[in-house]
Amino acid sequence: MIYLSITQIDAVTGIICTSEPMRTGPAYPQIKNCNIIWCDKSNWPIATTAEGVHTRAPLFFGTCDDDADLSVTGVVATYTEAEYQALKTAEHQARKPFPSWIGDFETMNWVPPTPYPQDDKQYYWDEPSVSWIERTRVVQL
């Protein structure tokens, strides 16, 4: 199994997103048994040029088969398992919304120490009190 990162290419032309605008829309390179597990979304949105070209490549991390062809456009880098885990840890930490929240490294998610109230009101997290505070609102459309 190979640990790798890939980026987006145009769905039809296959041109990488940092070279030309993805006029058709974004797609991923075709790599044998490529399983994307996480991405560097803590750094999104990425700026674009005046023509709509990504100024840097968004990175999608995962694994693929050992005999996969990695010479295709859109493959960014390969990693050792240790390098891959270090990058994943850094991304997970970058997504941490509040100091008190509890992380799940497998899903890359963070959950509050107190669950979001199960009703139809809107709340925001108040870190000093470590609790959800109800927001005032107008009720009718």
Binding site: G25, P26, T48, Q122, L141
Partner: protein
């Protein structure tokens, strides 16, 4: 009740071969016959690609019917076109961005109101976006945003059909296969089948959180910005347009065709 036309056609539905009229042995009025001749010359409106597939510089999200003109909605790539923490506008300022379906017009109105002061951050973010070679991105109107929820709901969380005295899900501008003006059920819409938009490892998913639309509602005593929660589907309005606890996702649209109104 929708009006029925010869051949079983109903206003607002796409014209497909299955809508062919019965053998023309019945008695039709001249106007009905002329009407059917007109219909036969039209091309059926179909989805250009599957929901969530690459299309038009982003991803295809569904269609809306804006007074007989049907548009394909395109959601911007999340790597460049989705952001958290933008406020809708200025507290208490009336913008007249009142359309529930015309996001481009609403956004233009908000940009005029902004006057470069960056009060209308969500609209400015979308308006300034250039990606996929396109620069006509905008902040979706409420019913355009609702189409995104209907077809690209990220989670398996049950919908809330009713809360805070409001029924959720009604969209007068919905277009096939989404039913018009229909309240959600707890299970409909369900989690999207577009894997790239499902919560989890997906990269393009809407967050299970609140999103701004560009629509303003004339709720007394203040004009409010409208939004929607992408976890339970509830329609939301916020009189304090300066709140930043919302996501913003840019959209563009292209003409798909016309239906009778």
């Amino acid at each position: 009740m929708s009006k029925q036309y010869p051949g079983g056609l109903i206003k607002g539905t796409p014209i497909t071969p299955s809508n062919n009229p019965p053998a023309a042995s019945g008695i039709w009025t001249i106007s009905e016959h002329a009407y059917w001749q007109q219909l036969r010359s039209w091309t059926p409106i179909q989805a250009p690609v599957a929901i969530g597939a690459a299309y038009g510089g982003g991803y295809y999200a569904g269609q809306v019917n804006d007074s007989g003109t049907v548009y394909n909605l395109i959601i911007a790539d999340a790597t460049v076109g989705q952001i958290y923490g933008k406020k809708w506008g200025s507290y208490g300022e009336i913008t007249n961005a009142s359309s529930l379906v015309n996001g481009p017009a609403n956004t233009a109105q908000l940009i005029v109101k902004d006057r470069g002061f960056l009060d209308y951050q969500a609209a400015v973010f979308c308006n300034d976006l250039v990606t996929g070679g396109y620069s006509d991105w905008y902040l979706p109107a409420r019913n355009e945003l609702e189409v995104c929820y209907y077809f690209l709901k990220p989670t398996t969380t049950a919908n809330l059909p009713f809360s805070n005295y409001v029924y959720h899900g009604r969209n007068a501008n919905a277009f096939y296969p989404e039913p018009v003006n229909t309240i959600y059920t707890s299970g409909t819409p369900a989690q999207t089948t577009a894997t790239n938009f499902q919560a989890g490892a997906a990269s393009q998913e809407f967050q299970a959180d609140y999103y701004w639309s560009s629509s303003e509602s004339t709720v007394t005593p203040l004009y409010v910005g409208l939004g929607q929660n992408f976890s339970t589907g509830i329609f939301y309005n916020d009189y304090n347009k300066t709140y930043t606890t919302y996501y913003t996702r840019a959209m563009r649209r292209v003409l798909a065709g016309y239906v009778l109104t």
